[in-house]
């Protein structure tokens, strides 16, 4: 072994491969093609240099005020979003599959939503049991018969993909209500350009900066009929919401008003915002407030985050809400299990991207099997997101499993189980060394006049060694995602 090989070996000394697919190294511990240039670059950088770059990146995030709020902790609720320095690289051919698969999925899910709020063909044709729909916490019966512009229900979709040991991208879950994280994707790209300009240029990374313009034109394309120059606003729950930074960021990037419920007035079924120049009519609301809180007259009476009367204006077609209300029924984790079937039913095509095998706890035999083998499953509450209410079998204690078992038995509809997945690993710079960590990928699909996906997404990282949980609320971080031209 030559000296340089020894050095080479040293830099990745802590890089241990296991069963999971590794984004950097192939089975023979050789760097995969898209990573080769980055691999060389990492070889040439000392840990000190990487450390300095890391500091520079962190400082940049700090100065931009890129933070999120962690619920349920008293001290220091506002934190800098943990960020990993080493980009995650997706080849052009992998991206082509992802793009095709997500477009297909977005079209099918929108057809599904239109169907269940109108004709309910899928229920009559027994593609999906009616029981599964009506028992979903996120099914909104108020939406029955409501026509939404362009039949576009899910205008912003954030679907989480994971790469399994065979190298294929698979859908872990859909986020069809108010998916967040896109501001991290955009600001992380900005920081990375400052830190690795040369590498960036050499790689010919596909751009994502157009996201805000695309989002704005998607929203404008959803304006009520006849509104030529529509007023679009972003509705936020307010400064105490965990994603407030993102709301403010997107509103600023799009040049639209960031409104709160108390800024809105509904009069004669039209929605207005209160400005210093009088009331101004609003055509499209990009709402980052959950369904339940949009209108106290239609949903939760105790909510002060929306404005009374919005739903009625929405029903009348005088204002568009994006995403539409009631989309959560389609990202219910129990409904998720039916999505491949729904794709075949509505589009007559095979799904491009597979689902993860999912056990419905409403099924008696499956429930028995899962309850007997909880240590081997991941159990998720169907209506939760953000990694809350979840049990990871192999990492759980006896008492946690006992508790989960009794919760499943008490409310089977509320839980699903999936096998423990070996999420792919990607190189991360942790504590001065380069080590593999588990990652997923959340691209953002925009669905309005057209379906568009910017080439990239949020790669979330489980920064704790061995951890499989990538949610920011549970100690996860993110890294920039570079989609290559080819």
């Amino acid at each position: 072994m030559t000296t340089s090989a020894a050095v080479t070996h040293d830099r990745f000394a802590d890089y241990t491969l296991n069963d999971a697919y590794d984004e950097l190294f192939d089975g023979k511990a050789q760097p995969r093609r898209p990573y080769r240039r980055l691999y060389k670059e990492l070889m040439n950088l000392t840990p000190e240099e990487l450390g300095r770059s890391k500091q520079k990146a962190d400082l940049s995030f700090f100065n931009q005020g890129i933070t999120f709020t962690v619920y349920g902790r008293k001290e220091g609720t506002e934190r800098i979003f943990p960020h990993d320095l080493i980009p995650r690289i997706v080849s052009g051919s992998d991206w082509e599959v992802i793009e095709r698969g997500l477009t297909q999925r977005a079209i099918a899910l929108n057809l599904f939503l239109k169907d269940i709020y109108h004709e309910r063909r899928a229920l009559r044709d027994r593609i999906i049991p009616a029981e599964a729909i009506y028992s979903s916490h996120h099914f909104r019966r108020q939406m029955s018969g409501v026509k939404v512009p362009r039949d576009a229900y899910v205008n912003v979709m954030g679907t989480d993909l994971v790469r399994l040991p065979d190298g294929r991208f698979t859908v872990l879950e859909d986020n069809l209500r108010v998916p967040s994280g896109v501001s991290y994707m955009l600001s992380s790209r900005k920081v990375m350009k400052q830190i690795f300009p040369t590498l960036f240029r050499k790689y010919a990374v596909r751009p994502i900066e157009q996201y805000s313009q695309l989002l704005l034109s998607t929203l404008r394309s959803l304006a009520p009929d006849g509104r030529r120059d529509p007023t679009v606003v972003l509705l936020t729950p307010g400064v105490y919401n965990s994603a407030y930074y993102e709301h403010a960021y997107l509103a600023r990037q799009m040049g639209i008003e960031l409104v709160e419920g108390r800024d809105l007035v509904v009069h004669d079924n039209y929605v207005y915002m209160r400005t210093t120049n009088g009331l101004q009519r609003i055509d499209v609301i990009y709402r980052r407030v959950d369904d339940d809180f949009v209108d106290p007259l239609a949903f939760r009476v105790d909510s002060a985050l929306g404005a009374p009367g919005i739903f009625s204006a929405y029903r009348a077609g005088n204002v568009t809400l994006a995403n539409a209300l009631g989309t959560g029924v389609a990202d219910d984790k129990a409904i998720y299990a039916y999505v491949p079937k729904l794709i075949r039913y509505y589009l007559g095509e095979d799904p491009v991207l597979d689902n993860v095998e999912t056990w419905l706890m409403t099924d008696a035999a499956g429930r028995q099997h899962v309850c007997d083998n909880l240590h081997a499953f991941v159990v998720k509450a169907v209506g939760e997101s953000g990694g809350y209410g979840m049990l990871i079998g192999p990492h759980s204690t006896d008492s946690q499993r006992r508790e989960m078992r009794s919760r499943i038995l008490a409310d089977p509809r509320n839980y699903i189980a999936q096998p423990v997945l070996a999420l792919s690993t990607a190189p991360c710079f942790v504590d001065g060394a380069i080590e593999p960590r588990h990652v997923d990928l959340r691209p953002y699909v925009l669905f309005g006049e057209k379906t568009v996906i910017v080439p990239g997404g949020l790669t979330r990282v489980a920064l704790r060694k061995g951890s499989l949980v990538v949610n920011s609320s549970q100690g996860g971080g993110s890294k920039d995602t570079w989609v290559l031209q080819n």
Binding site: G65, E257, D263, H267, R274, T275, T276, N277, G278, L279
Partner: protein, 311 residues
């Protein structure tokens, strides 16, 4: 601009100015009290509390209690600590509308004043707190001027600042002139210092401290930034700009009150103001400021929607 945003900017600015005023009053009163052989300490602090719109409790005229109430009592809504906190709270609601530098300044000052613990007889802590606020206010006003776009939002910031200042100086004048029969030079120095006006006054009138001249200087001097007239004219400028940018709103009421507030300060001979009932005149200024505040609020911020649909 969203009404809520305009309102938060206005109150951020008013509270900040109030904290700054309070710091100057404490500073001036404290300096005056160090020469306590010459005046009654109780009376000085009594007056400081009156200036800040806090009627003193006759049983607790202890100067230390007064300082504590003015400076660091978070339960007292007019204390420095409470005002800086309220300014920051308003700013945090509109982080996107103010510059990052403004937020940083305000946030830093908030954390700094929050750390002070003022024990009995701890004059140095009081002075450090006052110093921190005054330094902080110079920085904040500086970055506000230079980093925030001078659009409608900035006009609401200016309106808040100068409305607060016009009221504060009027109250100071009223409090000092109420006790002018036995006031001496040190009192007048304290009044001028409370408005950061000593040097500027001397440049115009020399160090010959005459109550009538001091009143004239602080009431109607057209160029001194703490005179009532100067403040009112800045309010007027801000309002004219806001009116111009909000073509759809009713303007008559605001213009009428503004004219009523401004006219005597600009056109009535000072001798006439001083020979008459100064207390009544100053009260009139405060009343017009309050009326103007209400009119602005009802026109731009919290207007009834029926009115909005008529116009």
């Amino acid at each position: 601009m969203l009404s809520r945003v305009a309102d938060s900017l206005y109150w951020m600015s008013r509270y900040f100015e109030r904290a700054d005023n309070c710091a100057r009053v404490i500073d001036a009163t404290h300096t005056l009290m160090l020469s306590r052989a010459l005046v009654s300490a109780d009376e000085g602090w009594f007056r400081a509390l009156v200036c800040m719109g806090m009627p003193p409790d006759p049983h607790t005229n202890d100067p230390q209690v007064a300082i504590g109430r003015l400076a660091a009592d978070p339960g007292n809504r007019s204390s420095i600590v409470a005002c800086v906190g309220a300014a920051r709270e308003n700013a945090s609601q509109v982080r996107e509308e103010i510059s990052a530098e403004m937020w940083e300044q305000l946030n830093r000052l908030f954390h700094e004043v929050g750390r002070f613990e003022i024990g009995p007889e701890d004059d140095e802590a009081v002075m450090r707190l006052v110093g921190a606020v005054r330094e902080g206010s110079y920085s904040f006003y500086g970055v506000t001027e230079t980093t925030m776009s001078h659009g409608q939002g900035w006009r609401f910031v200016q309106l808040g600042k100068f409305t607060e200042r016009a009221c504060a100086v009027s109250m100071l004048l009223d409090a000092y002139f109420a006790t002018d029969t036995h006031a001496n030079d040190l009192d007048w120095v304290a009044l001028l210092a409370s408005c950061a006006a000593f040097d500027s006054y001397c440049k115009v009138f020399t160090a010959d401290l005459q109550p009538a001249r001091i009143a004239k200087f602080l009431l109607v001097h057209p160029e001194f930034p703490y005179s009532v007239r100067y403040s009112v004219e800045r309010m007027q400028e801000s309002l004219m700009s806001i009116i111009a940018l909000s073509a759809g709103r009713q303007r008559a009421r605001i213009e009428r009150i503004m004219g009523r507030l401004h006219a005597p300060l600009a056109y009535t001979p000072v001798s006439e103001l001083l020979s008459g009932d100064l207390h009544a005149f100053l009260n009139g200024v405060l009343e017009q400021c309050r009326a103007l505040h209400a009119a602005v609020h009802e026109t731009y911020i919290d207007y009834p929607i029926e009115v909005a649909f008529q116009s």
